[in-house]
């Protein structure tokens, strides 16, 4: 299980204390959700990249919207903010901005995955 004390040393990719609160203090559940989140991120990232390449903007908006919702639930605010930016430009079909926002989103995904992997190895 992830120790709460580790949260202080964590990068700001997600707020572990808040996440534990959202899990009603259930550490096992938090651990399970973190593992699921870690597994889902590369899949979502790939889907998003495919949608961007095929210029399927409604799918880009839908995937980034879902990613934002999950990130909010997981207390990963930087990722949810970045996903929101992608969703906004995709809904507005601002093609010139989508690519740039997706690069930023991918950076946040990478940072979060690294943080989660580090925590998983500590656990």
């Amino acid at each position: 299980m992830l120790a709460a004390s580790h949260a202080l040393a964590m990068p700001a990719s997600f707020d572990q204390i808040k996440l534990l609160e959202r899990c009603m203090g259930n550490g096992a559940l938090m651990q399970k959700l973190l593992v699921e989140f870690l597994k889902s991120l590369p899949i979502e990232k790939e889907s998003l990249e495919e949608a961007v390449q095929t210029e399927d903007w409604s799918s880009v908006a839908r995937i980034s919207h879902k990613m934002r919702g999950t990130a909010l639930n997981m207390c990963a605010k930087p990722l949810s903010d970045a996903a929101l930016q992608v969703e906004i430009v995709a809904r507005a079909i601002q093609m010139d901005l989508v690519e740039h926002r997706c690069i930023e989103l991918n950076q946040h995904i990478e940072m979060l995955m690294n943080a989660l992997t580090r925590e998983a190895s500590k656990a």
């Binding site: 959202r22 559940l29 959700l33 699921e36 919702g69 639930n73």
Partner: protein, 382 residues
């Protein structure tokens, strides 16, 4: 306040909740919260799956995401509202959308409430409380009427008596609402409560033997004494409930009505010979409603009277049987009473259609030489 501590006071008692979301993390997090709070939880990953599961699970509350594959949350709301269901399902939409268009779409589709993701424990708890309150009220109303219907089912003649009684009582109470004298006594809540509780007025009849309750013709003095006990039996039954749930104002009114609707303004009624305003207002209202209905419908012991005859009897009983104010109120709403009588006709009695509806000729089949009071009245011809 954290979720766990604030949930200590709530008792969902396994109320069935279905969560619908295509995000497994959101599903698990919400399910954990609800299970800790005492709810019975079922999960579905989209609207279509939710509808399929609802055939067997019958949730009282559905919490659904909006954006989902197969069938989204708005479509799910519409589908639930279009079902022929005997019980209400409380719908909460949960989404990361926060724009007003989504809110309007969801509410227009039949959602009762709307929450933004990520849900806050305390906010969701309070909204669920609101849903439970609404569902409890629905259950309470149905139970009260079912109880009254059960008691009435032993009485072969009464048909839609309870439906009419509550309508008559509501009309009379609504009239009093506009009177300065009753300004601080009769309000909208009073009207709702009397509509809810007046059908319980004869609940004590469950304790009256068939030989008396179903006897055609006149009762002997001894039989009439037995019949009079229905007020005390109903009173005792509801008194126990009112003591157990003192905060439930409807039980207090139901008790007043069941126990005292045969008291008379001049103190000659039963069971306590209460006089004037010692008789609760709710019981005074139901007394008029009950007598009017008994007079205008056919019973095993009497034919039906015309509205005019019944109204005449009520006017003549002003200040003796009935509260003078209530008779004056009756005079003001007489046409509404007649309409209710017509609308909720039992088909067993030919009655005069009210002029407000259609000017049909009088069709009363009973050529009444005299008048008689309802069977439970002391004036009932013994």
């Amino acid at each position: 306040m954290t979720g766990i501590s604030s949930l200590a006071g709530s008792k969902p008692n396994g109320l069935k909740v279905m969560i619908v979301d295509d995000d497994p993390i959101a599903l698990e997090m919400l399910a954990n919260f609800l299970q800790v709070a005492g709810y019975n939880v079922e999960l579905a990953s989209n609207g279509k799956e939710a509808l399929e599961k609802m055939r067997h699970y019958a949730p009282r509350i559905v919490i659904s995401d909006v954006d989902m594959p197969e069938m989204n949350g708005v479509e799910l709301c519409r589908a639930i509202r279009n079902r022929q269901s005997i019980q209400y399902t409380y719908l909460i939409l949960l989404t990361s959308h926060s724009d007003s268009d989504s809110v309007l779409l969801g509410l227009d589709a039949g959602a009762d409430d709307y929450l933004s993701k990520p849900f806050r424990h305390e906010e969701l708890r309070l909204r669920l409380e609101g849903g439970r309150r609404l569902l409890t009220l629905e259950g309470r109303d149905m139970m009260i009427f079912s109880l009254a219907k059960l008691a009435e089912s032993r009485d072969q003649d009464t048909g839609t008596h309870l439906e009419r009684i509550r309508e008559y009582s509501k009309v009379l109470a609504t009239e009093l609402m506009s009177w300065p004298k009753f300004e601080h006594v009769v309000d909208a809540q009073f009207v709702e409560l009397i509509y809810l509780t007046s059908p319980l007025h004869d609940v004590g009849k469950v304790g009256i033997p068939d030989s008396v309750l179903l006897k055609p013709g006149k009762l002997t003095p001894d039989e009439f004494e037995v019949m009079k006990r229905h007020t005390l039996i109903g009173g005792e039954t509801l008194s126990a409930s009112a003591q157990a749930y003192p905060e439930a104002s409807f039980l207090k009114m139901a008790l007043d009505i069941a126990l005292k609707h045969h008291e008379r303004w001049d103190g000659t009624g039963y069971p306590f010979q209460l006089k004037g305003e010692d008789i609760p207002l709710s019981a005074r209202i139901v007394a008029v409603a009950d007598v009017y209905d008994a007079l205008t419908t056919k019973r095993v012991y009497k034919p039906a009277f015309t509205h005019e005859t019944a109204a005449d009897i009520i006017y003549k009983s002003r200040g003796s049987h009935f509260d003078p104010d209530l008779v004056d109120a009756f005079a003001k709403v007489e046409e509404q009473m007649r309409c209710i009588r017509y609308e909720l006709d039992e088909c067993s009695v030919a009655i005069k259609k009210p002029a407000a509806v259609s000017p049909l000729p009088i069709q009363c089949e009973n050529n009444l030489a005299g008048v008689s009071y309802p069977r439970c009245s002391p004036s009932h011809p013994l």
